[in-house]
């Protein structure tokens, strides 16, 4: 069901916007002034949303955001440190990004774990992820569409410096790269299934019924659908240009074989 990547992106973004009512959806002000303290309570944020949170050194602050294939999430964080008169040594901070399965994601750019000197007034952190892929092997750790978690914490600091007030500003950008870079599609985005668990005594047969019927439907109509047409991407341009070029060179080649004579 992939006509254009853009449509998918719009749909998923719309769904994400709807699915995050906890982030103070009723108020029109887009700013976020809160952070979660665990993966489950992570506060949802959107791209280009002003996030300003008061906290203390030693806190673990969690946010979550949704990303779709082709995006390159980019985080920019500034921490205003407590007055240097209250501090006794340097402290190191870190920003970590996890995917929907709580797997650590690599930052390809940005200062991920800087150290603030004792007299520094603020510290800047950044993390840019790899481009989110539309599909990856199950055994692979590549970034995939779905939820991402951000954790900001101070990793090493003198014990006396715990619990001092800091002010955190975070900006998230989701620039889109070449959406056609990848083939394949994930059946379901990596969004955690947040429902209370249930210990079973017998294998759940009912659970498989829903996906099973879907499969049947897909199978019946797969020969009719246009799924095999790739999304628009630079590949289309290259290929079409190549075809045109081949036609031109074909004509040139044809013309070489003709005897040049006056008619």
């Amino acid at each position: 069901m992939r006509i254009t990547q853009l449509a998918g992106a719009v749909g998923v973004l719309a769904a994400l916007a709807v699915a995050t009512p906890a982030a103070a959806a009723p108020s029109p002000a887009p700013g976020v002034s809160n952070a979660g303290t665990s993966f489950l309570t992570a506060v949802a944020i959107n791209a280009d949303q002003q996030v300003q949170v008061g906290a203390v050194t030693g806190d673990y602050l969690y946010w979550s955001f949704g990303a779709v294939a082709g995006q390159r999430p980019d985080l920019d964080i500034t921490v205003a440190l407590p007055p240097s008169t209250d501090r006794t040594g340097s402290q190191s901070w870190t920003v970590e990004v996890f995917d929907g399965l709580r797997r650590r994601q690599a930052c390809v750019a940005g200062e991920q774990n800087p150290v603030a000197a004792e007299n520094a007034t603020s510290i800047t952190l950044g993390c840019q992820l790899r481009q989110v892929r539309s599909w990856a092997e199950p055994w692979d750790g590549d970034p995939l569409p779905g939820t991402y978690y951000v954790r900001l914490s101070s990793t090493e600091l003198p014990e006396e410096d715990l619990g001092l007030p800091v002010d955190v500003t975070l900006a998230l950008a989701l620039p889109t790269g070449d959406t056609g870079a990848d083939q394949g599609e994930l059946a379901a985005p990596l969004v955690p299934n947040n429902k209370p668990g249930k210990v079973l005594t017998t294998p759940a047969a009912a659970a498989s019924a829903a996906p099973g019927t879907e499969d049947d439907e897909d199978g019946l109509f797969s020969s009719w659908s246009f799924d095999w047409i790739p999304d628009f991407s630079s590949r289309w341009v290259w290929t079409v240009a190549g075809g045109a070029l081949a036609a031109v060179t074909g004509l040139i080649g044809f013309s070489w074989t003709r005897r040049r004579r006056v008619a």
């Binding site: 719309a14 709580r102 199950p138 055994w139 947040n194 429902k195 290259w238 290929t239 013309s255 074989t257």
Partner: protein
Amino acid sequence: MIHKKLSLVAAIGLIAASAFLGATPALADETTTAEPPRVELVLDVSGSMKAADIDGATRISVAKQAFNDVVDALPETTQLGIRVLGATYGGDNKKTGCKDTQQIVEVGPVNRVAAKNAIASLKPTGFTPIGLALREAAKDLGDTGSVRRIVLITDGEDTCTPPDPCTVARELAAQGAGLVVDTLGLTPDEKTRKQLVCISTATGGTYASAKSEEELTDRIKQLVDRAATPPPVTPAVVTGAKDCVEAPLLSAGVYTDRELISEHRFYRVTVEPGQELRASVSISLDRPLNRDYGVLLKAATVNGRELVRGVDAGSGRADVLSAGLRWSGTEEKENAEAEENNSASEEETTTVTAEETTDVCLIVSNSFASPTAAGEPGMPLELSIDVVDASQAPDAPGLGRGFLLLFVLAIAGLVAGVLAGWLTRWWVATWREN
């Protein structure tokens, strides 16, 4: 179907709708489980709170003012209670003094006037029985299944040990899921700070120090704000087994368990052919630990053959360490599909798939080490499991890209043109002759 294919707009609408519909069940789940969180403020009113060392004001007057500000700013939905310790007994008998803790505001929707009156009447008096106060506060909050948070505000260490309040906190956290103690030290000394840090770490809470009224008010407001947004789910309690045969069979959802240092816990999940297993685990670092550590989540067959593993390691301060994995038996799916096609006419598909069902074992292990507290209760473990449709491996790209592609196509065109030209000449020549 054909109309859908023809109309791009309709397709976009459908994609949006399906994404929307896909998201709605999760939304429904969230709203049903979102009970209002219950918060209890525990305030130390021991004799040391008389000290006038916060901008010239006494600690208790600063705490009172901060409480008043917080009560004014509370959201309507918050279920708040207030408990004090060391407020009534002024004598020297330690035994009596260490039982001195009362709840002055019951946990419930806030009655602002009553709460303020209760706070105003407090006088700094007695001992500091933090451990007992925590126990009682946990009782006050009850076990309703919703999130429970205690905010402990004190200026001094426990004067009634044993029991060590840190041990008490770990016990309380182990008894019921979702009890968090946040601690606030009023101009704390080193011993108090260490004790409060220990209490908050043991329960997954946070520690903060306050040296002014403004800091105290800000921090309490932060904590109440954080408590006001409950987690989307209350994890179910499960106990992992020592091997795969006895392991509990889990459905999709979020679970909580406890794991000792260097223990292995087994869980089982049913994965139908054509489905993908997604699992993630987080272990909370709730005690003093050696510097380097790791956590391993392994998926294996019932016979013990490893399928895939998720692993993470770290060092230094951290609240949780997480690992996750995906696994789908694609080969098994193809086999199952072939069988299904064969037996489709006999309407036996359901029995076939049921037989093809594979149980996958999830094994959670860790490489933590603790110099002091390695025993019971184990470290909190959060397991999140989901079973979704497997994703198809994509075909090779149908379109190309790059100058090499252009070059190859151009050369192919040139060669084809030359060949076509020769062929035409030969054909024309032959035709003329005849």
